[in-house]
Every structure is written in structure tokens, then in C-alpha cells.
Symmetry: C2
């Protein structure tokens, strides 16, 4: 679907790459953007598939994964609105470096990779902003690796909840798990049974109630104290 120019610009502005760019940059992307609704379970692209687009999530959730030789799935990330994916193909021989699948009904903006290529070459401020976005993602990845080593399962679940709360969370806080628990477990690099045990441990240390996907955290500070001591970043994190 073709969006109106202002609608496309408004969506672009919500992503880190385009937020602070001038209309010189935004106009050509807005013109060539296509809007797609995709139900849960849709395969957006597969690992090593030849790449034409990169994507911005308007709503919903998208899972990035890879498959090991013995057939297991490793979840790399689960992204939501404002996030971009598929752009790395531009630097990897125009092949996607992972699988992308709709994890919860999603609306996506499709954008041509060749336009990204042209705009990087012609506008150095834009290239610099892409470098900045890639640097942030790298720091985020380093943090994830750190958490795998230094945090307990319960603390990693606590961190996941804090990120859902956002930086200005007030106690008591109600929130909903955005996608199913099996995927949350994979996202956090845990087996479902480790996730269940981790959640049980977390509830021993932090006052929280769960009913289905609905969750109430009585005291956000209590959660922060329990979770963030085993992390090298201070709450609220910059990338919440």
C-alpha cells in the first residue's frame, strides 16, 4: 500500500535513523516506502535470501533468528515499533544475515536498500547517523552478552520487565507481556523451564503478580535494586 507523503514521513521520523534527518533525506524514502500489514507467523525474509528491502516496524513485533546446523532456532532479537531491520544486508553482499518472522500481528514499512545505498554515498551526515545507530546496536549487543554471563535468569527476566516499563515507570505498575512466554524465554536465551524457574525466583525477591499476560509490579525500585546491580549500565538505561 502507498501511504500519503506526510504519513510516511511521520513513520520514518519515529525511527532512530531518520528522526533528526532533513527533508532532503526523508522525501525520497517517503516516496518509495510501501506499507504492509502482516499477520503473526508471516516469514518476512530468510537467512541468505537475496535482499531488496530494509524495514521499519510501525506496530507489532518481529522476531530475528538463525538456525543451527542441527536444526535448533537461535533467537537474535525481538523488535517492536520504531525499530529497523534488514539493513545489514547492504554490507553483506545483499543477502539477509538472519531470518525475520512476524511474532505478533505487525504493520511494516518496506524501504528499498538501493536507496539506502545511494543516500549513504551522497549525504555524509546520513552515513554518520547510520554509523551512530550501528554503534548503539553494538553496545546493546555487548550488554546482552554481558547479561548472559553476569546475571541470573531471574535478573534477566527482571531486566526484560524494566525495559517494558520504560524510564518513567511509576509504582505500582501494570503491564502486559507483549508476546508469548516461550518466545520471551528464547529471546532471553533460556529454555522454557529455566524461564519458569527464573520467574519463580524473581517473585521471591520482588513483589509482583502475574495473571496470564497481565503483570503488576508493586514497587519498580525494588525490581531495579534486585536486577541492575549485576549490570554495568545504570537504570534507567539509555536504550530503554
Amino acid at each position: 500500500m502507498i501511504l500519503s507523503h506526510p504519513d510516511a514521513v511521520a513513520i520514518l521520523r519515529k525511527s532512530e535513523l531518520f528522526a533528526s534527518q532533513s527533508m532532503d533525506i526523508l522525501d525520497p524514502f517517503a516516496e518509495q516506502a510501501r506499507f504492509h500489514e502482516m499477520p503473526k507467523g508471516t516469514i518476512i525474509f530468510s537467512h541468505e535470501q537475496s535482499a531488496e528491502h530494509f524495514y521499519i516496524i510501525v506496530s507489532g513485533w518481529v522476531k530475528l533468528s538463525r538456525e543451527t546446523l542441527d536444526g535448533n532456532e537461535a533467537v537474535i532479537d525481538v523488535l517492536h515499533s520504531g525499530h529497523m531491520f534488514g539493513e545489514l544486508a547492504l554490507f553483506e553482499n545483499m543477502q539477509y544475515v538472519c531470518n525475520a518472522e512476524v511474532a505478533e500481528d505487525a504493520e511494516l514499512l518496506f524501504l528499498p536498500l538501493h536507496l539506502l545505498d545511494t543516500m549513504i554515498a551522497s549525504h555524509h551526515d546520513f552515513a554518520r547517523q547510520l554509523l551512530h545507530v550501528m554503534s548503539s546496536t553494538r553496545v546493546k549487543r555487548d550488554k546482552e552478552l554481558e547479561h548472559r554471563d553476569m546475571q541470573s535468569a531471574a535478573q534477566r527476566i527482571g531486566c526484560f520487565l524494566l525495559r517494558l516499563c520504560g524510564a518513567d515507570a511509576e509504582s505500582p505498575l501494570q503491564l502486559y507481556l507483549p508476546y508469548d512466554k516461550t518466545l520471551i524465554a528464547s529471546r532471553l536465551g533460556m529454555k522454557p523451564e529455566t524461564f519458569s524457574r527464573g520467574l519463580a525466583t524473581l517473585r521471591k525477591h520482588v513483589d509482583l503478580t502475574i495473571q496470564g499476560a497481565a503483570l503488576e509490579i508493586k514497587d519498580v525500585e525494588q525490581l531495579t535494586a534486585y536486577t541492575c546491580n549485576a549490570c554495568s549500565f545504570t537504570y534507567p538505561c539509555e536504550d530503554l
Copy 2:
């Protein structure tokens, strides 16, 4: 120490960022490069310190790490010759995003960050190459995260050894552990005791002998078969 121009160019050429760049790019970096020998244990920079340089390793090993609030050290990476570090500061308010320390006696090339900034702005091919290097590092990080989830400790140690062997390893293969086992364990996100148990498990499945830092692998293919099935990349990996 100031190097001769050809020596500085030769070192730059060994790093992924500069390998295929023209003399337009290499000349100013070679002119401003400074060569330093640093003994094991030297702190090169600290997390959040204000940044002036980025670095290329000529020889030796450098550890990148961060410290958690409760005082534990998370090792992000351990790098050797040809690798670059400290460059992310350019996109993170001119502050280093981690600590860097000499892990084994090292020779380093110091390069000014402001020059990197200028050259990115003025040479879009160079900006694109930096994007490419950052993309490769991101894919590598995703792989590390995957390994934390999908591979056993023994397989992760096997993967570490395969990377030391390189792509053209012939059986039987002698090699030396490049730095001490405690750091290897941290690098792989393991406690020293997990590392010892993992190594014992690996030796049950793969024919290898260890004496101090010296190691002999009888059959590289046997090691590959044991290690690489739990990975989504095929051996030999592109980033060996």
C-alpha cells in the same frame, strides 16, 4: 614513537578498515599514527573516559571489558593483531564505551579520532567501509550470543580452538593458548571451574592433548564435527 611512512601504511593495511583503501585515505592516517609498546596489564583507557584515539593492534592481545555495579568484570572481547578498538567513542559522545587493557605484551598504533571523523565526512567510500566493518562485528556478536544459548561449554571451547587454528588447519595440529586460561574462560563467558569441566568433556569427545599452554589436536575434522553442529555458521567461518 613515529614510524616511517611505509611502516605505518603497512600496519594500516593489515586492518579490515584500511586494507582496501586508497593512499588518499592512508596517507593522513599514516602521518598522524603513533606507535607504542605496552606491557601486559597496562590500562589503555577506561569506560566513559573522554576519547582522543582509536587503536590498531600490531602485536599482542588487548582485553575489552566493563564492570558491573556490584564490582564484577564482564569481558566483552579479547583482540589480537590487525584488530581495531576504541572507534565507537566517535559515535558515543567521544567517550569510550568500555575498558581496554593489555592482556599480553602489545604493540599498538594510536590514531586520532578527529581524523577518523574528518575522513568519514569527506570520503563516502571510507564511511561505507566503516559501516561494513561495523556490520561484520555485529554479525560476530550475534553469533557469540547464539553460542551462549545453543552450545555447551565444551563446544564453545572447541569453537575457540578452531578459531585459533585458522581455516587451513591440517591434522595433527599443534598450537599454543595465546593467553591464560582464566581470561579464556572469561572471554567465553564461563567461570574457571566451568571451563575446566568443559575442557574435560571436550577431551572425552575429541582426541587432544594439553601440556601447559601447548595443545595438540589429532584430527581437526573430529573437532569440527563435535563443535560446529550447534552453530548456524558453517566451518571454516568467514571471520576465523
